[in-house]
Amino acid sequence: MTEASPYRLVGARPEPEFEMLVDGRPVPVVPGQTVGAALHAAGIRIWRTTRFGERRRGLFCGLGVCFDCLVTVNGEENLRACLTEARPGDEVTTS
């Protein structure tokens, strides 16, 4: 089977990527992607640790319902990574 990809499937010609900084580390973003999607695409699936059991979390519902994927973006706390569109130069911090 040929190498299938979502880009090939929809015939995407994405604009050049920009970078956001996640805990100081650059992560590429296709314009319009959410913080959570860009993290996933970069192979980062874990970015939060729970208060009590120190369980590791990332995207779960992916629709803004579960609040597992909370991040801080440019100092704004408790934003849902799955809903928040990444912007060039965003500084994302995780907890």
């Binding site: 779960f60 992916g62 803004g64 579960c66 704004e76």
Partner: protein, 467 residues
């Protein structure tokens, strides 16, 4: 563009198939319409679109019925489309009509939209059931995996298991496979052919189902019924799942467990309608065909509260076709009510009503064909998290029951499931079922977390003055 005069004839909350159809009908009839959605693009979950930055030449490749979406999107007339608006509360306004309180944009600034009439088309989210390991990274909802793909062109994982119950598992599996994931299995806890006899009553749906079947076969994806993922495993991240053969009540047989290696599990046990806004307004809420909560509407999609309409999954989970039709019916009713004329009468309305009944009957049959069976509770262990937010293990829920908590509300007060960030949206179904109840309507004073300052300012703001 909202400007200073933000008083609309109709505010539609939710820009999925129902909201798009309603807003289009009302706007084309000359009403001033605001269509609000939390997302960055219209379409809702079903017609979720990738950002323009991808310049997709075949944007319909991931969607069933894409041409319908294009027609809905292009038929919005002069409706104001207010994207990135997360509605956290609606209330009757002092001078009549409704105030729709939103958080706007990436930084979530508060804003309020005023409208004479309100249509709630907020859709549904995946229903999930707890099981050991379900909070491991790599386990996500089927809808979440679909949203990553449709909305961001990101494939959730390399080796993916799709599991749960209901026909939605099929499009999730086929689109993941088409986008390059290795889908190692689709496990349906109910019967694999629970749907089959019913599908014959809707030939279009039977053809659609055959299409998914063919695509699964082409990607060599096994689709097995009477199988459930009863545990997920991994040291800090998902590496494999246990799939059990289950009986008709979803209790695992002693034999027939298999271990399936995967980095991602997409799980879904049907859908839960998002009823926060209709519940806030005091709209009467009844039960759908499977006992789940759904807002009651008359045949013009009017709720029990004058001026408030509902369409789509909020009135009972029924899929995109039914949602679109209900939206159009609601839009016509809003136009008629605004003009003070009867909502029914013309032949088009009669045809719509006949079609709605047919689609609703099929939706009810689906709900009855893919119920959640009680045996899922036998998958739980003492330390299985029930509430992900407050990290409440099954043991504490059982202790609460042993202490005499006989209903979901008492369990919640004693053991705290459902008291965290998500306010029970994820675990509420499970807690209700563990209490032996049918899942009830939500009782949340706000539909999105909001800063206290915005709450304090609420009364002082009636129009959007910072646009």
């Amino acid at each position: 563009m909202t400007g200073h005069d933000a008083a609309y004839d109709l505010a539609v909350v939710g820009a999925g198939p129902a909201g798009l159809a309603a807003a289009g009908v009302a706007a084309r009839a000359g009403l001033r319409v605001a269509l609000l959605d939390a997302g960055a693009r219209v379409g809702g979950q079903y017609f979720r679109q990738p950002p323009d930055g991808f310049h997709a030449s075949r944007p319909g490749a991931l969607h069933h019925g894409y041409s319908r979406f294009v027609r809905l999107r292009d038929g919005l007339g002069d409706a104001d489309v207010l994207l990135g608006h997360r509605v956290w509360a609606v209330e009757p306004a002092a001078g009549g009509g409704f105030a729709v309180h939103c958080l706007k944009g990436g930084r979530e600034r508060a804003t309020t939209v005023a409208a004479t009439r309100l249509l709630v088309a907020t859709g549904a989210h995946d229903r999930v059931l707890p099981f050991p390991g379900w909070d491991l990274p790599g386990v996500m909802t089927a809808g979440g995996a679909q949203a990553l793909l449709k909305g961001n062109l990101v494939v959730a994982g390399r080796r993916v298991v799709v599991a749960g119950t209901g026909p939605f598992l099929l499009p999730v599996a086929t689109s993941l496979a088409a986008a390059g994931a290795r889908v190692v299995g689709v496990f349906e806890a109910g019967g694999r052919f629970a749907l089959a006899p019913r599908a014959l009553t809707r030939p279009g749906k039977a053809v659609e189902a055959l299409g998914y079947g063919g695509r699964l076969a082409r990607h060599r994806v096994p689709y097995k019924g009477g199988r459930a993922v009863v545990a997920a495993h991994g040291a800090g991240e998902l590496t494999h799942v246990t799939v059990a053969r289950v009986d008709a009540e979803w209790r695992p047989y002693r034999r027939g467990h298999e271990t399936v290696r995967c980095d991602t599990l997409a799980i879904g046990y049907g859908f839960t309608p998002q009823l926060d806004l209709v519940a806030q307004l005091g709209c009467e809420i009844g039960a759908d065909a499977a006992g789940g909560p759904a807002v009651r509407v008359d045949r013009h999609m009017r709720t029990s509260v004058p001026g408030v309409y509902a369409a789509g999954e909020t009135t009972g989970v029924g899929g995109a076709d039914l949602a679109e039709l209900e939206g159009a019916i609601a839009g016509r009713a809003v136009v008629a009510d605004a003009r003070g004329v009867p909502a029914a009468g013309d032949p088009a309305a009669v045809r719509a009503e006949v079609r709605r009944r047919r689609l609703a009957a099929f939706a009810d049959a689906l709900l009855r064909a893919y119920p959640v069976r009680d045996g899922w509770t036998s998958w739980l262990r003492d330390d299985t998290p029930i509430c992900r937010c407050e990290e409440v293990p099954y043991r504490r829920v059982r202790e609460a029951r042993d202490l005499g908590a006989a209903d979901a509300r008492s369990i919640k007060l004693l053991a705290r499931p459902g008291m965290g960030w998500c306010q029970g949206r994820i675990c509420g179904e499970a807690v209700a079922r563990l209490a032996g109840e049918d899942p009830g309507p939500p009782r949340r004073p706000i539909a999105q977390p909001v800063r206290l300052g915005d709450l304090a300012d609420m009364d002082e703001r009636t129009s959007d003055d910072d646009a």
